[in-house]
Amino acid sequence: MSAQTEAQTEDVTTEHQSLGTVFSDYRTRVRGGDVGALPALAGVVVLAIVFTILSGNDFTNAYNFSNLILQGSAITVFAMGLVFVLLLGEIDLSAGYTGGVCAAFVGKLMNDHGFNWVPALLGGIVLGALVGLVIGLLVSRLGVPSFVVTLAFFLALQGILLLMTGAGGTIPYRDSHILAIMNKNMPLWLGWTFAAVTVAAFAALGFTRRLARARAGLPTPTLLVWALKSVAFTVVVIAATAYLSKERSRNVFLASLKGVPIVIVIVAGLLVFLTFLLTRTAWGRHVYAVGGNAEAARRAGINVSRVRISCFMMCSALAAVGGVLLASRTNSVNPTTGGTDTLLFAVGAAVIGGTSLFGGKGRVLDALLGAAVIAIITNGMTLQGQPQGRVYMITGLVLLLAASVDAVSRRRAAATGRV
């Protein structure tokens, strides 16, 4: 028996996995239905090519590129919050108006109560978290389906927003800091510093993780995999930064317009921070466990209702951030801030990115990729002079496509025994 055990030990600790092994492993996974970010990435690439062919420079110029980022960033933040709720297999239909109400609250704090922008913003986020707390309590303690609870909140918050702004009225945003988020760019040197830090952090993180595994004697992909990933990431970041650093003002004498939009720092920061929470902390692991099998999680000693409540709080708090981004872009809060298609685009973004509505499967990055797809469709079709009706139709079609990919890959996964 001991000989077997030794043979086994040798077997499982094959020191280095070659590039070929890593690649073929990945191919097996994709074939088995674990497609990950592939459909969304393919969507971004295909759509970009299509619109480049159709619109040429109108679509590819630096001005439109930064515009695209601004259009997609609020949806991205809403979608990031929704990922947490979707991971549980729940839904939050009220996230859009939660964002609107919180943004209005932030505006009121600054305008009527003379708050500085920092405490006002924090107040808005806390208000969002409180909304999430109430939703979470109703869902997990009372057992009301989240669809119904959040539908009720959707209606009620819409009313509250209307009362706060007054019919047809607006709450103006005047603070230069908050307006800068969606309207200003970083100075060129700061943009490049930010890019350098991001690239260095990405490479260092990958390297230390690899080192930790190797030190523990666990199978590790070869250094080449890490190098290729880091180089690819670096190329993308540098290319994007360079493009955004170009002068993109139509009239340079009136106003110069160049540099990385400030909102990118917020979106990137949230992406890193939330991914870190979901994948590196026990709490994040519990979120996946509750989404995968709540009963198993409960028996393993996980406080399921606390996990549920925290996810709803996370979603609503992020919705507050998203709401402020929307208000920052339009310089004010109006009765439809966070309304109309905001919530549905955000859910759509998460699903297009690969987050499952059935719970247990999804990443924060999905929100970003899905939002990119939606932003490109809206932006590209509007440039083509297509009516808004057609934009909605195509977006719906893409969402349907994404959900079908999810369903098909799920079936394949079941057939090959993968999730």
């Binding site: 028996m1 077997q4 055990t5 086994q8 030990t9 499982v12 600790t13 088995g32 930790a212 595994r213 030190r215 523990a216 004697g217 666990l218 590196r280 902390t281 026990a282 692991r285 519990h286 996946y288 466990a289 989404g291 995968g292 099998n293 009963e295 198993a296 999680a297 028996r299 393993a300 000693g301 996980i302 247990g360 499967k361 996964a413 090959t416 025994g417 993968r418 999730v419």
Partner: protein
């Protein structure tokens, strides 16, 4: 109270780690367990058998702390203890592998083994240590059926899933592992693998309680057989001292036809 028990006791190899004496449990008007005794010893597989409704699950849930017993003594290493909830049982080193296994399909083997008890270093998940220890535990149990500990549990076969659930239960320096019908849903080859694993657990010095309907499994792997009949423990005997038929008679009638074992309607 327990002195009136007339079943022949096998010569103890050593002191039982877990002893139940005179256990009573009712759910409303239904008297589920009547004056039940049970001894569980380290290094032995104790099979708990009985027909549907005999009270096996109730007994096990009481041991695991899911619900309390109404009356009776719960002795751990000879000392009376109180077990109010599953945590208390875990703290004593008692782990239960339920029939549905309670695994998260979307998580991998390591994640499942450490579910709810993740190792952290300075607040972060310590993946490397968890993976190393999970491998060690699996290797220690001579589990050779798992390709990689990083595959999602959904992609594993029934036997492999059972293996993961059992390995999880021994990861925590547990002393007693209770297995609820571990082979019920398995094919022949996988049943063999799981039974071999059950045997190895006992050989490593753990006390194993095996609940099973399958007499072949029981006769093959158990050292000791405890038979519940309508809520009473009619016999706890050494496997070597009974025949297959005698056990079946105990399960179905509460006593053997030759009157050697069992006391119908339980004494007292």
């Amino acid at each position: 109270m327990t002195a009136t028990q007339t079943e022949p006791r096998p010569a103890a190899t050593d002191e039982p780690i877990l002893s139940l004496r005179g256990i009573e449990k009712s759910f409303g008007a239904v008297h589920v367990l009547r004056n039940v005794d049970l001894d569980v010893r380290l290094g032995q597989v104790t099979a708990l058998v009985g027909d549907n409704g005999a009270g096996k699950s109730t007994l096990i849930k009481g041991v695991a702390g899911i619900h309390g017993f109404d009356r009776g003594e719960y002795l751990f290493e000879g000392k009376p203890v109180t077990v109010h909830n599953p945590r208390d049982a875990n703290d004593l080193g008692i782990e239960v592998v339920y029939q549905d296994l309670a695994l998260c399909d979307n998580l991998d083997v390591v994640h499942n083994m450490y579910l709810g008890r993740e190792l952290t270093s300075s607040g972060l998940l310590d993946e490397a240590t968890m993976e190393t220890r999970a491998r060690e535990t699996l290797n220690g149990l001579s589990v050779r059926t798992l390709q990689s500990v990083r595959t999602p549990v959904a992609s594993l076969s029934g036997g492999q899933r059972q293996t993961v659930a059992i390995a999880r239960s021994v990861l925590w320096n547990s002393r007693i592992v209770i297995l609820d019908e571990p082979t019920a849903a398995l094919g022949v080859a996988q049943t063999e693998q799981v039974l071999a694993l059950v045997r190895r657990l006992a050989d490593k010095g753990l006390a194993v309680v095996l609940i099973s309907h399958n007499m072949n499994d029981v006769m093959q792997v158990a050292d000791d057989i405890a038979v519940l009949y309508l809520g009473t423990m009619v016999a706890q005997v050494k496997t070597s001292e009974v025949t297959h038929n005698q056990v079946v008679e105990l399960i179905t009638a509460g006593q053997t036809s030759d009157g050697k074992f069992g006391t119908k309607g339980a004494d007292a």
